[in-house]
């Protein structure tokens, strides 16, 4: 892990899925932090200010939609792109996610390399938008 590489906050309550993406993203040279519920996700986001947040929407307690809403309503975390991840393929889910403020939406199953592509794409877009040339 090198300083300056992308920091991703991965939020999922299913340990195996977290494990797969952590392994692969780390293997691919990204830094990954994990959270297993909404509250943890908010705490870590405020604390670490990651470059991208991958948010599973079905979470125990504070769910992914609500967590995303709070992040997007907070000036400290507003600019962090959020990729929503869900096992529900119904149309209502993606719309709810985008309404909550998610920047992208991925339906499970999602192969680790696809997630990586999505993270890189959305980070590039966010960086271009913020006009930050340093990262």
């Amino acid at each position: 892990m090198t300083a300056g590489s992308l920091l991703v906050l991965l939020v999922d309550d299913y340990p195996d899925n977290r494990d797969i993406y952590v392994q692969f993203l780390t293997y691919s040279g990204l830094r990954v932090e994990e959270a297993e519920n909404g509250h943890q996700a908010l705490d870590k986001a405020f604390e670490l200010h990651p470059d991208v947040i991958v948010m599973d929407l079905s979470l125990p307690g504070l769910d992914g939609w609500e967590a995303t809403r709070r992040l997007k309503n907070d000036p400290r975390t507003r600019d962090i792109p959020v990729i929503a991840l869900t096992g529900h393929a119904l149309a209502g889910h993606s719309k709810g996610a985008l309404d909550a403020g998610c920047d992208a939406f991925i339906t499970k199953p999602c192969l680790p390399e696809r997630l990586l592509d999505e993270i890189r794409a959305i980070h590039g877009t966010a960086r271009a938008r913020s006009g930050d040339p340093t990262t």
Binding site: N17, A89, L90, K108, P109
Partner: protein, 684 residues
Amino acid sequence: MSRDAGQCAQRALTWLQRYAGVRRGLCLAADSAPPRLVPVASLGVSAPRLERYSVDLEVRDHPLTQALLSSTPTILGSNGHGATTPLGPGPVQAIALAPLSPRDLPAGLLLVSPFSPQGAAEVRWLARVLGPRLAALMAARRVEEAENRLQRERGLLYGIINAVIDPILLTDGDGRIIIANSRAETLLAADEDQSEGRRQAVTLNNMLFSAALTRHAIEGAEAPRHEMPLVDPVDGSDLLFELMSTPATDVREGAGIVSILRNVTDLQRATAEIEENYRKLRQTEADARAERDRLDLVIDSVADPILVTDPGGNIVMMNAPAERLFVAVDGDSEEAHRQVQANDAHFSSFVSNLFFEGDSRRRTGSIGLVDPITAASLPMEAISGKIVSEHGEVTAVVTILHDRTEELERARLYEDLKKLSAELEQKVRDATAELVRQNELLRRSHIALEQASALKSQFLANMSHEFRTPLNAILGYTSMLLKGVSGEMSPQQRRNLERIDSNSHHLLSIINDILDISRIEAGKMPLTLVEFLLPDMVREVLAEVEPLIARAKLAVATELDDALPLVKSDRQKVKQIIINLLTNALKFTPQGWVKVTAAYDTRLDRLTIAVTDSGIGISPKDQEVIFEDFRQADDSPTRQYTGAGLGLAICRRLTQMLGGELTVRSALGEGSTFTLTMPRMPQD
């Protein structure tokens, strides 16, 4: 000598006064018709005494008559001989005056007083001289008087003739006018100073008159009256006269003709008028008769019996239908006669009621009659109306009878119908109530079903999610292992891992299909209509299935119409169907080719997209089941081809959503053609 008898006698008396000492004298002249003596001159006699004095010579014993007839002078009144004379008391000498001729009676009688013998010779002489003279003068006087009388009578006659307004003429044998009254002169005589037109009219009238007279003369008394047209010379108007001519024979004047013309111009006009009136009367009568005939015709043509009754209740007129009911002839049965009488009685009773009901002019009621021939009962509706003269008297009653049999029958049928209808209505009401109840049950079960369906869809969605989470892990780990994240592995390990990967993907596709079906059935897959071009879409499809094509090692051709129009539909769903059909074709074609064609039917405004392959084909029996859920042609557990058998089921559902249809044409071993037909535009 004077020509007048009076003057002559007066002078004679004056002479006697002077030469014979006569103081009073009277000269009486003998008149012949009637025979009498009348005073013509007097001397010393008061005039009143002589007024109206005359002596009737028929009275023979009158002293003066006797004196007249005596050849010697007679002395009167001297010794009581004879009566007193107009000369008063005292002796009077009466001496007859000598006649004109000796055969005649004396011309008169001279009375003188006083009588003196000295003057006797003078008196005698004078009587001799004066007699013939007086007789001649008296004769002349008589002639003059007769002429005067004639003249008066003639004047009177002319006055009378002129007073007659009809022209009267007397003509001679040659037709020349001898006498004409003024009216005739107006028509037939003209002076030189009168106008040319008037003279011409008169000339014409004369000609006409002469012609009429001639005709009259020829035709004689057979036709004593002739009509003769003349012209009024005053105003030129046409006049018509009736000529009545009578021959008049006069001893002195010879044969003549008296003609009376009667102006019948007005009479002719009146006659013409009378004729015209008569003609009109005849015409009116004919009209009335025609009207009557027409009325009869009308009345007879009416199917309902019509009767006209006089105020006495007698039937004065009836049409043929009425005759059938109210007239029986000899040939009819006794029964028929009886029925006719009964009918008549019923009818009379009805009509007489109307006569008794003073004010009402109409009466409507029912009479029960019987057809005399068929003996069928006829319930009749009777409508009677009074015909009232201008004096307010009822002159007749007209009655129309209307057979109500059919009407009553209809009413009865209508009642039956109404009853049936009511029964039917009740049945419908019952059925409707039952339907409502069933409907309510259905509605409830529908709600229950919908709830169940929603629960099922929710369950499937949840299941799908629950499946995906572990499947995500399996696919994720497999993928990482294959990518060598955990280091290298033996070829055998890698081959096994690829099997795991392949099966995992199959499982995922099954789960996705199930999810699609549950989404369609839950109505959670709405149509998103956009306009697009089919060739673009086909290119995209080919690009997406390129890995499969490459693996199948098949030639894939496209045959697209040049004139494919812009389509408005759900692009994503059309694409999903084509991908599915193409994937199937690739899967079931071991070798050969696959072709995608697209065409447009202008007439039906529909598009067809077909996927044809040279694959294994489908038997007719299997063609019926391939569109069902979870079905493949080969359902056996050991089947050769993978897939959940949900692809065509989904395609069929999607096609229905697009308003199109999906058909297959195939034979075992000869390939298959799947055709999607869809409208170019949404239909609603």
